[in-house]
Amino acid sequence: MLAYAIRRILMLVPVFLAVSVIIFLILHLLPGDPIDNLLKVGAPVEQRTEMMARYGLDRPLPVQYAIWLGKLLTGDLGTAIVARRPVADLIGQALPHSLALGGLALLFSSVVGILLGFVAALNRDRFLDRAIMGGVLLGSTLPSFWLGLLLILAFSVQLGWFPVSGARSWSSLVLPVLTIGLGGTALVARITRVSMIDVASRDFVMLLHAKGLSPLRIQLRHVLRHALIPVVTILALRIGWILGGAVTVEVVFARPGLGTLLIKALNQHDYPVVQASLLMLAMAVMLGTLFGDLLQAAMDPRVRGALA
């Protein structure tokens, strides 16, 4: 297991380098540059070249990349060009909010999704199954900004239970977590259900029934355990998505986070911030996959065997 883990971690290094090149290039090949956002009405024309030189934007791209990567490896994310703050500070402020929101939403969609999927599988093709699957389908197709506004209207404006927006208290987390969580629930519930039904038709389940174990015990201890393997993979992949994909929800609920930071920086072409945020998200996806693989290996000896 340890050897497998080490191998998996070493494999991340080339992926990381490739991702860093792509992130750097995509951004610098986009039309536009941060200087346009810095120049004020009335600034003299020469100021542009002066500022390009100050931020090193006049150098060839490979040189700029080498400088950036060199600094990155020593842990220096640079200073934001438009925002004028150390990038590490900006990310440090946004990350806890993203982690809290993303983590809780992931937890919500896992728990509720697995529970709903389990109940639906037990009641396969009956009314409850149809109702649950129909419900989650509806939930997943609602655009999150709209769902967010509906939740605000219902729970904040009408009932007054939670604050409309902001990140000042724990209660302000409830609605955003519900908004993101409900979207993820559908996926988890459907995969749990399908995978449970699939596992339930295997021979070993038949054997367990033959042994005379109680059906609920078979479903809980044996079928669900097997059925969770694909669910864990999906959940691990969603870690990265949940960190950066919450942009619309962050905007609707006026919460800070990596998503909002990234969008703002993209609009201003603030290269260092965009590069660092994208790298964070890419790392989250990479670590999420790694985590998922390790978890899968821990849960399923066949995976370990295949890679050993």
């Binding site: 039309p31 009335g42 004028r84 703050r85 900006l90 904040s156 800070p256």
Partner: protein, 527 residues
């Protein structure tokens, strides 16, 4: 006997508790929560020297030398008065006495000298570039020796980038100045600041040097002011509606009817600083012909756009500048207004004859042009109306939409013919910015480079000794630019501010171009 004593004690405790609670209530009543305008969301620091964007809190933390009234005239603030030499080569500013920074440091002529020295490191240093030397005459008098006359100096000194910082702590705190701590002379002190979230300000109880444009001569009436940043307009509106916040400092036109329908909400309308216009690329066929340019410009029905696209809120634009500026008050014959007959006549004259489908053509080539716009829905809507109006005189235009962050780079290619865009600025030097021959592509989207215009431009920008001369020179420059039709003015929006009238009392008259320190000094929180 015993029970009586107990009752007495209970009564005493009850009364004092009630008093305490009442007291607490009073302090709560002096608290207010405002939502800043969406275009100011995300300002990362309150360092006026380093920042590239500043939000409204900057105007409350710091004071400036000069304040500006709603009619854009200049008034004293930390400078009690000033004198300009007749040749414009020196200025003397008399400073207010007894002014103190939040950290107890005194404000005097020495402060000005040190601050302007520090300001040279700013990317906005051009604002004070004309000041060659700062001479401290006495504690309350400072003289600027100029390298060239700069009649725009008062405007610059009223800008929030020229907010007066406390030089000592500025140097000591370095990059943390404006983020973790900040010291100015303003009516409020910084209590806490979370980028993109909220800024909490507490009243500066020593404050007694507000701009004379504010009625209140003492400290602010609001004890604690929270400025929240909400990027989504619908969310901000729901916060206001549900009483979570007391004021929105920027309300989109779409929400105005909804807000007016609420009993407890009030809308305050201030003149805007935006102008929506259609640049015409003078280097691209068919717009190399001034007749076609004029025809396109006069095909635009500003009144119809104001009524149908903006619900009648705002003003039509007939010049390139916001109408509050004296330089916008030009000879009526240069103003550009809707005149379809003139448009049609000009196009006929230029040889573009109307075809069967209503589209004009010349030598077998149809009059087909591109019309660029940015992806925001308000621009899309406006552009579609303009497209229909151009078609009415026989110009067929095809809309191309660009992402708002990349459109500037597209302009630099110089391939645009017509475009719909807007700017936000309240000084006549915006003409230089958008039509200067050395900024072709962007900001000079019209690619306008005309020798006579360049001559007038140089005269306006650097050849004026005083304000009156500057206004004259800019008027001449403005008139000439308009006469060449490098653009068509369309619309001037207003700034709408909305507040909860059960919570706030606003001054009857607003003596400021926008809601800032001067207005907030006079805002009262209802008990």
């Amino acid at each position: 006997m015993k029970s009586l004593a107990l009752r007495k004690t209970l009564a005493a405790a009850g009364i004092s508790l009630a008093a305490l609670l009442a007291n607490h209530g009073a302090s709560l009543a002096q608290e207010a929560v405002f939502v800043i305008a969406t275009n100011e969301v995300g300002a990362p620091t309150y360092n006026p020297i380093k920042a590239s964007n500043l939000n409204i809190a900057t105007t409350l933390l710091f004071d400036r030398l000069v304040s500006q009234d709603a009619d854009l005239s200049f008034h004293p603030w930390l400078a009690e008065s000033w004198e300009e030499a007749p040749d414009g080569m020196s200025w003397i500013f008399h400073l207010k006495k007894g002014v103190k920074f939040h950290n107890g440091e005194p404000f005097n002529a020495e402060t000005i000298a040190k601050w302007l020295e520090l300001f040279k490191a700013s990317e906005n240093a051009y604002m004070t570039k004309a000041i060659a030397k700062v001479e401290v005459i006495d504690d309350a008098t400072v003289k600027f020796v100029m390298s060239n006359p700069e009649p725009n100096l008062l405007y610059n000194f009223s800008s929030s980038y020229l907010s007066i910082i406390e030089p000592k702590s500025f140097v000591e705190l370095g990059d943390n100045y404006g983020v973790t701590e900040v010291y100015g002379t303003g009516p409020f002190k910084l209590e806490s600041f979370v980028v993109g979230q909220e800024t909490v300000l507490v009243r500066n109880d020593d404050y007694a040097w507000a701009s004379p444009l504010a009625k209140n001569r003492g400290p602010a009436k609001i004890a604690k002011l929270t400025l929240r940043e909400i990027a989504e307009d619908s969310t901000a509106f729901l916060e206001l509606k549900s009483g979570g916040v007391d004021m929105l400092l920027g309300v989109p036109t779409d929400f105005l009817t909804e807000i007016k329908a609420q009993d407890n909400l009030e809308v305050l309308t201030l003149p805007g600083q935006d102008v929506a216009y259609m640049p015409i690329n003078v280097t691209k066929e068919p717009f190399t012909d001034i007749k076609v340019r004029e025809a396109a410009a006069k095909a635009i029905n500003q009144k119809e756009i104001l009524d149908s696209v903006y619900g009648g809120v705002g003003e039509v634009a007939n010049t390139f500048l916001i109408s509050a500026l004296p330089e916008a008050d030009i000879d009526a014959k240069y103003k550009i207004s809707y005149d379809p007959d003139r448009s049609n006549a000009l196009l006929d004259e230029a040889g573009w004859a109307k075809g069967a489908d209503g589209i004009r053509a010349k030598d077998g080539k149809p009059l087909k042009v591109s019309l660029w716009t940015q992806s925001d829905s308000s621009f899309r809507r406006l552009t579609e109306v303009v497209q229909a109006e151009l078609k009415a005189v026989g110009i067929d235009s095809e809309i191309t939409t660009f992402d708002s962050s990349s459109i500037r780079d597209q302009y630099k290619s110089g391939n645009q013919q017509l475009a719909i865009r807007s700017y936000n600025w309240d000084n006549a030097d915006i003409i230089d910015w958008f039509f200067g021959g050395d900024r072709l592509g962007y900001p000079n989207v019209s690619m306008f480079n005309d020798p006579k215009a360049e001559e007038l431009r140089a005269k306006a920008m650097t050849g004026s000794k005083n304000m009156a001369e500057r206004i004259q020179n800019f008027k001449a420059y403005h008139e000439y630019v308009l006469s060449q039709f490098p653009m068509a003015p369309i619309y001037q929006p207003v700034t709408s501010v909305s507040y909860n009238k059960d919570r706030l009392v606003l001054p009857a008259e607003i003596h400021a171009p926008s809601v800032g320190a001067t207005v907030i000094m006079d805002i009262e929180v209802k008990e």
